[in-house]
């Protein structure tokens, strides 16, 4: 197993867990009362925590793609809530502090890590379709040889 890939996977898993845990915490501590946004926090929290566990366990690359899409979606939702509003819900600046800043950092980090992982695996992906590989590049190719 490539050590660099393992480190990338662990940090990615941690960033997802942080974002998911903060959304779950905010859901429990008041956001569940906000229509549409509250359930969104519940879904984000549970999906990100699940992705963190599965990616840490060495899940396939498409899990990282899902994580990147989720992180991008969360960032878009964050921007909307600070500009035109999200389902009529608006917040200001980096409130609630420090949670807003923590999740934005975690989600940007998620996007960067998934991007880095994808770039590192690109040469191999030309031989093996992305979907057939595990995120750390192990498992699938060898099993195919068998």
């Amino acid at each position: 197993m490539n050590i660099a890939n393992l480190v990338l996977r662990i940090v990615l898993s941690a960033s997802l867990a942080v974002s998911g845990a903060v959304h779950a915490y905010l859901y429990i501590h008041g956001y569940r009362d906000i229509p549409a946004v509250g359930p969104g926090f519940l879904v984000q929290g549970s999906v990100f925590c699940a992705l963190a566990l599965l990616i840490l366990a060495g899940g396939p690359a498409w899990l990282q793609l899902v994580a990147a899409i989720g992180a991008a979606g969360s960032l878009v939702a964050f921007t909307l809530s600070r500009t035109v509003g999200l389902f009529g819900f608006t917040e200001t600046d980096w409130q609630p502090s420090p949670y807003a800043a923590i999740t934005v950092i975690a989600e940007v980090l998620t996007l960067l890590l998934v991007g880095t992982t994808a770039l590192r695996q690109r040469p191999r992906a030309s031989k093996d379709p992305l979907l057939y590989q595990r995120a750390d590049g192990a498992g699938e190719p060898s099993s195919r040889l068998g």
Partner: protein
Amino acid sequence: MSADNDPTGMTRRQLIRHGAWFGAAVVLTVAGGEVISHVAGAAGSAGAAQQSRPALRFAQISDSHIGFTGPANPNVAETFSHAIGQINSLGYTPDFVIHTGDLTHLATPAQFDQVKQMLTGLNTPRVFTVPGEHDSTDDAGQKYRQAFGAGTRGDGWYSFDIAGVHLIGLVNTLNMQKLGHLGTDQLEFIEKDVAGLSSDTPIVVFSHIPLFAMYPDWGWGTEDAAQALSYLKRFSSVTCLNGHVHQLFSKTEGNVTFYSGTTTAYPLPPPGQGPAPKPVTLPAGKLRDALGIREVSYTKGQQALALKDQKLT
């Protein structure tokens, strides 16, 4: 099977493996959601939710213009009544409802009677108001204060505290030329009113005309608001809610966030669009999209208030 040997396709073993990962993702997500919901529910039933639930929830309505007749809204009483019904259907009882002015269109005793009667239909313990310029055109707000001035100071301003939040109702529609005007007495009131408060007390300010320069050419601003806001500078969270402009708008200046609310009567054009802010007649069926109500909540431990604007359904 041919797919098992296809170098570009997915083998059955790989398909099963990916299916297993997908299944695990679904199971973990559902389990995680259950755990989070359970924790949230337990927190609520154990009383811990007293801290996590919004400590304060109120609704804002504005610019009902009872008595207005025109093609922009042929029945303002009906749309106002609908807004009241929508607040009563929020699913909870708001701690209070604030009407941010222009309750009436021409400030006649009959219009004040009508709007006061209609406001009694709100399912809330308290209703607060601030006057709009339509409520105080011909008598410096005398009829307004007769109808809604009980318990207020000066020309109708006041303050109160709920759930650790300090709320201030201001009158900026008297003695005005073009822009809103607070005046020396009211500025002194604000200064003294907040003097004894700790800086982490959330402050909410109600006024009819915006306290920020939304569009001064149309009078959408208050000439001496800077002085009032200087007394609020030390507070970590200041939220100003206003009416008057008949449209949603928000702006942040330092620690202060301004939110203009919409109307229950008729829309006005966006700032600068056209020569003057005249009622806009929308195509049939589109009026209610421009009207609405606002929910505001404050949760202890969070600096900013959460706002949710709803169109009239």
